[in-house]
């Protein structure tokens, strides 16, 4: 395998942002610092972001196309705006920042994020919010397969994913906590709001789907629970910010039928070796 010279560059350069080829890509704009990411290798782009985060709180990345791992592991109250297609694992392990994407996000956005916000003015693909531990992800359009796989919660740390469009199969697979809300407001390629095997292997948390769902669409370990006034109140609270972000009418959304899906048991295998 070739040794990527850019890795060596990173090791050599103390401050990447002062390098002659990188500096012209960076400019201040109000209280933002703007980086032109066009054609930039993802390792360089991410190093630049980390360096800028030492000085700036608001970072805008333009001409992003597929660079992965943006803002991964970043801690603090940053505001990061991304224009373009964000690559795989956007905001993974991050703790606190707010990321707003004008464009789509590729697989695995919000992977194991602990706190913060990811807002996507576009669509997301598979394993969005994989193993998420806290914070929120709002997607304007569709999301892919296995969204929220293995999400979890602890006390008041309850992660939330909301999508305005449709979701693929295995929504909330092995879910151990948190909330997933699928609204199905736009159905670009399908009449089905979500795919099959909903919540397969779920043992914590809840999924709200804005439509009627038949029992046989659920995966093993999931069941349909009554959608109560309490649930409606909860959604009204949760969706207020979502609707404000994307300009949707909250009351109209809540008028529609919802299905709530929860685990059959919180310890599905508790007696596996004792029966």
């Amino acid at each position: 395998m070739n040794v990527d010279s850019s890795i060596l560059d990173i090791i050599r350069a103390k401050k990447l942002i002062e390098r002659r080829d990188i500096a012209p890509r960076i400019r201040e704009e109000g209280d933002f610092v703007v980086v032109d990411a066009k054609g930039l290798h993802y390792r360089i782009l991410n190093e630049v972001v980390y360096e800028l985060a030492e000085k700036y709180k608001k970072i805008k990345l333009i001409n992003v196309n597929g660079q992965r791992y943006i803002a991964d592991g970043l801690r603090g109250d940053y505001y990061i705006e991304i224009h373009g297609t964000a690559g795989d694992d956007l905001g993974a392990f991050m703790n606190g920042p707010e990321i707003v994407v004008y464009g789509n996000v590729q697989d695995g956005a919000g992977n194991t994020m602990n706190a913060g916000k990811i807002i996507v003015h576009g669509n997301a693909t598979d394993i969005l919010g994989h193993s998420m531990r806290g914070g929120v992800i709002y997607v304007e359009g569709d999301v892919g397969y296995r969204v929220g796989v293995h999400m979890k919660e602890y006390k008041d740390q309850v992660p939330i994913i909301v999508a305005g469009g449709t979701a693929g199969d295995f929504l909330g697979e092995y879910m151990a906590g948190g909330r997933i809300i699928i609204l199905g407001l736009k159905r670009r390629f399908t009449s089905e709001i979500v795919g099959d095997w909903i919540a397969a292997g779920i043992h914590g948390g809840a999924i709200y789907i804005r439509d009627s769902i038949e029992e046989d669409r659920l995966g093993y370990g999931a069941k349909i629970a009554e959608f109560t006034e309490e649930d409606k109140k909860y959604l009204a609270k949760i969706l207020e910010e979502y609707c404000r972000t994307f300009g949707y009418d909250l009351n109209k959304i809540l008028e529609h039928e919802f299905t709530k899906i929860v685990p059959e048991s919180h310890r599905p295998y508790g007696k596996m070796y004792t029966d």
Partner: protein, 346 residues
């Protein structure tokens, strides 16, 4: 974590290899440098009626034996070295040669099967000779390396084709060698693949019953042969071939309207040993069609989009966006449901 790319000019306009090379380069973090390759359709218009055999040889002996075998079984219209550049990233391990051949008159009524037996005869019978591609007016270029370097090695940017596939490899289960790089090809069919075909054993035994020999030490090979068997020999439409390879679950077939249910049940039962299991995304092409297909539960990424002229398929959205600023809606095909793009001219 391999990466796939495909591009079809639906009007048959030929473009240089630069676009597909850019698409492949956009997904470089997916590869580890142990396999890269390209398939190009429309690159040999001056020999469009000949089968273009791209063959790699370990040594001169293998080349001589192969040429004796070819002279015995086909008419060699022209042969020449596949041109390469000297590059430090990929030392040249094989003799790379191409032969433009015709099938003898007396075998013309069954020339496809005849050519397959010629290809299998070389791959199986001659030590150190590997037929890399065998279609008409097309060719595969592949080696152990990053796609960008494989492209430089074979001067891929200099060819002009209307349909291109690219692959960058991250081998996990089978060896990284020149022949094990993708695309895999037999006659008109080329396949690039991300993931693994866990049903390889079952598929291989089924294919061997139909005269195919799996000799390239990797699972992807079976996909090319299955398409040849189902679509060319059994004349299944692409949509039904996809049903055979990645059928809906029985619980979904149960709910279909009676006629459809009957058809899908027949296909599933008839082609049970052709079913592909395991996590995968593939792009398959022949001279008129490009097909993207995911496994039945979608364990690998695949996205597609089109603009006025081209249809694009790739593992990552970024690869499409980089070469196609004016695409209409981009989407990820559903599990087991093929995306089929066809040439709109003859």
């Amino acid at each position: 974590m391999c990466g796939l790319a495909g591009i079809l000019n639906r009007y048959g306009k030929r473009i240089s290899g630069n676009k597909i090379i850019t698409m492949a380069n956009m997904m470089e973090p997916r590869y580890d440098g142990r396999g890269g390759g390209f398939a190009a359709y429309g690159i040999y218009p001056q020999h469009r009626d000949c089968y273009a055999l791209h063959i790699y040889f370990d040594n001169e002996d293998a080349k001589e034996l192969t040429e004796e075998f070819l002279k015995e079984h086909v008419l060699i219209v022209k042969d020449e070295e596949i041109p390469t550049r000297k590059i430090k990233e990929i030392p040249k391990r094989y003799i790379t040669w191409r032969y433009f051949v015709e099938v003898p008159e007396k075998f013309k009524n069954n020339e496809h099967d005849y050519m397959i037996s010629v290809v299998m005869g070389i791959n199986d019978g001659i030590e150190g000779a590997y037929v890399i591609s065998s279609g008409k007016n097309m060719g595969v270029f592949k080696a152990t390396g990053m796609p960008r370097d494989v492209a430089r090695l074979f001067k891929v940017e200099k060819y002009k084709g209307y349909l291109w596939l690219a692959h960058g490899r991250f081998p996990t289960n089978t060896p990284g060698w020149w022949g094990g790089a993708h695309p895999f090809n037999i006659l008109d069919w080329s396949v690039v693949h991300n993931g693994e075909i866990s049903s390889y054993g079952t598929n291989m035994r089924y294919l061997e019953m139909h005269g195919y020999k799996c000799r390239l030490l990797t699972d992807t090979e079976v996909v090319a042969y299955l398409f040849d068997l189902l679509v060319r020999r059994h004349r299944l439409p692409y949509e039904l071939a996809a049903v055979a390879l990645t059928p809906p679950f029985w619980k979904h077939i149960e709910k279909m309207p009676p006629e459809k249910k009957k058809l899908y049940t027949y296909i599933r039962m008839t082609y049970a040993p052709a079913m592909l299991n395991g996590p995968f995304a593939i792009i398959v092409a022949n001279s008129t069609t490009m097909i993207g297909l995911n496994d039945r539960i979608k364990l690998r990424p695949l996205v597609t989009a089109k603009d006025d002229e081209f249809t694009y398929i790739a593992s990552e959205e970024a690869a499409i966006r980089e070469v196609a600023p004016n695409i209409e809606e981009l989407f990820a095909p559903k599990a087991g449901v093929p995306v089929i793009a066809k040439l709109e001219v003859d």
